[in-house]
């Protein structure tokens, strides 16, 4: 695997689309690394002839950008109105419980990120959550709990 710096450079310099901006460069880095490192902020600034401050303004605006390395897995749970009406809150509670978290965030061992989402786009199949970017509809608290447990166990097996 390339070093961090090479991966950042490749992501920033090899964007396929014609319009390259600070935001597009940051999204490219996020796709590659899963987060925006300090080096990435510097690279994006220099590539876009902008200041660190300009880049940081964009990073800090969009909540999809992380500034620390990602956990191995990511679970998102929707709490938007469609999902709320058909039982999102018990799903949120059950997912947090299975992850051992009080609120959205990373587990201390860095294995799982739980994030709230305001709309995952499959409202007709609410409540909706996603596990490592795969959508799951009509989630129950039991199913949410089981999905999180399965994700955590799969990692344990690999590690063991």
């Amino acid at each position: 695997m390339d070093g961090l710096k090479q991966r950042i450079e490749k992501a920033v310099h090899c964007q396929p689309q014609a319009t390259v901006t600070i935001l597009s460069s940051l999204l490219a880095v996020e796709d590659e690394l899963g987060y925006i490192s300090r080096e990435a902020v510097e690279e994006v600034a220099s590539f876009n002839r902008a200041t660190i401050n300009d880049v940081w303004a964009v990073v800090s605006f969009y909540p999809n950008f992380r500034t620390v390395p990602p956990c191995e897995h990511k679970v998102e749970v929707c709490w938007g109105p469609s999902c709320h009406l058909v039982g999102a809150m018990p799903v949120v509670a059950s997912v947090l419980e299975a992850a051992g978290l009080e609120d959205e965030g990373d587990t201390p061992d860095g294995r799982l990120t739980v994030r709230y989402n305001t709309c995952l786009g499959a409202c007709a199949l609410a409540p909706v959550m996603s596990v490592d970017h795969h959508l799951v509809g009509r989630v129950t608290p039991e199913k949410g709990n089981a999905l999180v447990s399965r994700v955590l166990n799969s990692q344990e097996e690999r590690a063991g």
Binding site: L23, E30, F61, Y62, P81, A124
Partner: protein, 570 residues
Amino acid sequence: MAASFAEIRDQAVERWRSLTDSQTPWIRVGTALCGQAAGAEMVADAILEQLEKQGLSARVSRVGCLGLCFAEPLVDVLIPGQPRVVYGNVGLDQVPELVASHIGGGQPLADLVLGCLGDEVGDDLPDLQQHPMKVREQRIALRNAGHIDPLDIYQYIASGGYEALNRALTELTPAEVLEEVNASGLRGRGGAAFPAGTKWRFLAGSNAPDKYILCNCEEGDPGAFNDKGILESDPGTVVEGIILAGYATGANHGYIFIRHGHDGPIDRARAAVDQAYDLGLLGEDILGTDFSFDLEVALTGDSYVSGEETALMEAIEGSRAMPRYRPPFPAQVGVFGKPTNINNVKTMAYVPEIIARGGEWYAGIGHEKSTGTAILCLSGTLNYTGMVELPMGINLTEVLQEIAGGVPGGRKLSFIQTGGPLGGVLSAEAADLLLDFDIFRAAGAILGSGGIIAADEDTCVVDLTRVLIAFCQYESCGKCFPCRMGMSHMLEVLERICRLEGTSDDLALMRNIGENMQAGSLCGHGQLGFNPVASALRYFPDQFEAHIIEKRCPTGRCQVPHFSPRLSRR
């Protein structure tokens, strides 16, 4: 030398015939976001696996959304000479039998069949066109959704795609194209319902050498998924609509704007753009004429406000998605400082059919000044949830009770929430309205983007209002402080009302905050931010009184928040 359109079309028709007339069965699996959420990708993989295992041959395509999201995963089987059969709620464990029986034995698996599509209906099988969600549909923008492979431009062309563009470029002047759109009475489907022809005329009136067409698929409204649904199901109609808009207004650049992370719509839109370039339908000298147009897919980060037209331009330029002051308006100074026109995905999706069939044809559908169809996303406590395209003028109560099949379990409908979180709520009684932009507006609701979320009698309206404001608070971009602080303050008040700790001054306090937000915010987010509370208060004053004065939640369902979304965007 590029092929002529006639050659491209012949090739497309030939390819389509080989799909529909050959002896090889064609299996279509709906894999739009709704299908994905129901596990359709796994079902498609399982079908491929079973075909191989059972030594059978069939073509498998991953298509878009037929609209019957409640029955996802949908599997649609076409065996030449037999009726086209659609299966609903297909589970992984049912795939082996389905493949063996239908593909292997030519015998549909009757228990799983949702119905037949097309002119032929099988013996003892229901006609899917007669399903409550289908029977009153009139599909214009969704005409190809669920039928064609969105990753194959030839299937779009074989279904009549790019005929309108070819005709426009060879037979019509830009002014004539604009006139057709004007005559159609097409109004913007993004929320404001502004006449598209008028908007296009603003841009056409500018002599600037560089002009832009933006197509907005940000679609952050919870409960709305039709923009993403169209791009996932039939990106070709959107791309063709944008090129026609460019021709009519003299613009040469375009962007389709989508939120990062929605891979289905993004990948399918990109494929439709790339393939259009390959066939000479985009780029320099389109179809051998002297009209040139470039189109690109641009992504934004997570930000609801980036769907606002000027914030969207900031995001395309790579900055924080915060709205700009107006004037100058986008038609004078838009993205990269150039004159710009912005339309929603749905608006663009209608354009090819309007040019193909004429503005008068489109204007003949619908109700008064709301011409054409409404593309509704039905979600919440309804029997049939999904995406339907209905002529304007149908009664909303009929939509909820008949087309969507009413509320499950014999419970009663209490209220609905339309037009995104800022659209507010309507009581079930007040939902006796015709689908019409102006009638909705007069009732204090927004038809807007077509999201309709239904809530049954077990739902607490005060609690849902809290969730709507929690959303608005989380998504305030923070530029205008009345919105940034007002949303937070209003959320605090609603949280304490839900905890039964509200005081008799709280309603006046929220009104005061709402007035300040309306007067002091640059965009609709703050200006309309009080709408959810105002509309809930209007229809359900007794519910608020019960919480504040009697200290009880009448439904007993108030879900006191055990998490609070971030109070500001970092």
